[in-house]
Amino acid sequence: MEPKPSSSAGTPIIEVTGLTKAFGRAPAKRVALRGVDLSVAPGEWVAIVGPSGCGKSTLLHLLAGLDTADSGSVRLAGEEISALSAGRRALARRHRVGLVFQAYNLVPHLTVQANVELGMRVAGTGRRATRARAQELLDLLGLSDVARALPATLSGGQQQRVAIARAAATRPDVLLADEPTGALDSEATGTVVDLLRTENAGGRTVVMVTHDYAVAATADRIVFLRDGKVTDERRPRGLTDSGGVVGVLPGPGPGATAAAGSSSGDDAEGPEPAGTGTGDVDLLGLGSW
């Protein structure tokens, strides 16, 4: 994989500072965000994880400019979006941001294909390019067979993939996805992760909310959100060059540690590999020879 910029390099494409948001009034007031700071570099792939109700969807909606914060700021490519009028905000969003809603929000009376083409039509993309892009995404996500169906006739997992295709269709600078694999089995989850990987490799910044750690692990960075605050940030790194999943376990000796140390990437924030262990650690107990 090509080297990715770290969050500290260059101008962030998303910069959030001191973001707070509450819903409702005094006795029934629910605080969703209690001062969130987050900076995302262009081309970065960030996963947001945390227990349900911790504010993940609220944060994503604020990043998309769908809602306004009580205090704090959201900058998109340097532009303060909370300062924009609703109309200008919608324009900025259409231009730069693709959003996959947790509840999909497909247009019920449009076919799957028309839903996917919607954003490109609005953006004035040519007819043939629009068709080709929609076809490509529907193929990639295994939806070609239902291109002419209405959303209501699809399974939850299919609707979810349509929502992903629709958000990715315009090749937005920033792709925001709320639980994009929430309704999917492991095969379809793999397909969606592959698509996100392709989109990210194509230069798109990806911020996704997920509670599937296997999905989160594919990102450049995992942001842990808890009770409306960022409590931790980590960079998962794979250690394929040291031989499978055992590379992340206490190794058989100094060799394994050396291999872990030699894995490339800006992993300054990552934890150090654990000290050398006994060598017989085995995830599945398959070594019971």
Binding site: G190, V193, R237, L249
Partner: protein, 205 residues
């Protein structure tokens, strides 16, 4: 080990290689020494026998093969109930120890969570490597490894003349995926449990 030998006679190193090719994505390479210890024990039990074969390129080699006793032991083991993935894993023991001794285990939980996530990342990277983008099924997985192994096994056979097939792996398509998936599911379950631990015991870790 018995299953590998059931495929044909082999020497220790061939068995090591076959193991590592089968489980390389999900388990550490097995130590050759460990193989010989096991073979010695199996021979004592009457499950395997060996003969020495001259090797033009190096020291003579012990070729092991399965006996009828060994074949029976293999069938018996296959029919035995398998262990359940429950109980006293290392992290469970640490949690309990921490709670009954007032020792703090929050760092251990955080560290373990990150290691699980890194293991998932490694498995995801392996999946991405072994399954070219746009392809929905792992066509080779271990079969790719099997092909390269076939070449090596052939050259071993011509130089060493072992006639052994224990090192060969021609496996059903998708087995690599299945082994990786087993690890993914176990890791996901472990991580969900760690979240639960944190949620229920917050402040007491």
């Amino acid at each position: 080990m018995l299953a590998l030998l059931d495929r044909g006679p082999a020497h220790g190193y061939e068995l090591k290689r076959a193991h590592d090719e089968l489980f390389g994505d999900v388990a550490p390479p097995v130590n050759v020494g460990q193989i010989y210890v096991t073979l010695t024990r199996l021979e004592r039990d009457g499950s395997v026998v060996h003969h020495v074969e001259a090797n033009a390129d190096g020291p003579d080699r012990k070729i092991y093969e399965l006996t009828e006793v060994g074949r029976k032991a293999l069938r018996g083991w296959l029919a035995d109930p398998s262990e359940l993935p429950v109980g006293k894993s290392d992290i469970v023991l640490k949690l309990v120890a921490g709670l009954i001794t007032d020792g703090t285990i929050a760092p251990a939980v955080a560290e373990h969570r990150m290691r699980c996530i890194q293991a998932l990342r490694t498995l995801a990277d392996l999946r991405a490597t072994k399954r070219p983008a746009g392809q929905s099924r792992d066509p080779g997985g271990l079969n790719e490894a099997a092909n390269t192994d076939d070449t090596r096994a052939t050259s071993t056979n011509t130089t060493g003349g072992t006639g052994g097939t224990g090192g060969r792996t021609d496996l059903p398509v998708g087995l690599g995926d299945l082994l990786r998936e087993a690890s993914v599911l176990h890791l996901q379950a472990e991580l969900r449990w760690l979240d639960l631990v944190e949620e229920r015991l917050s402040g007491r870790l």
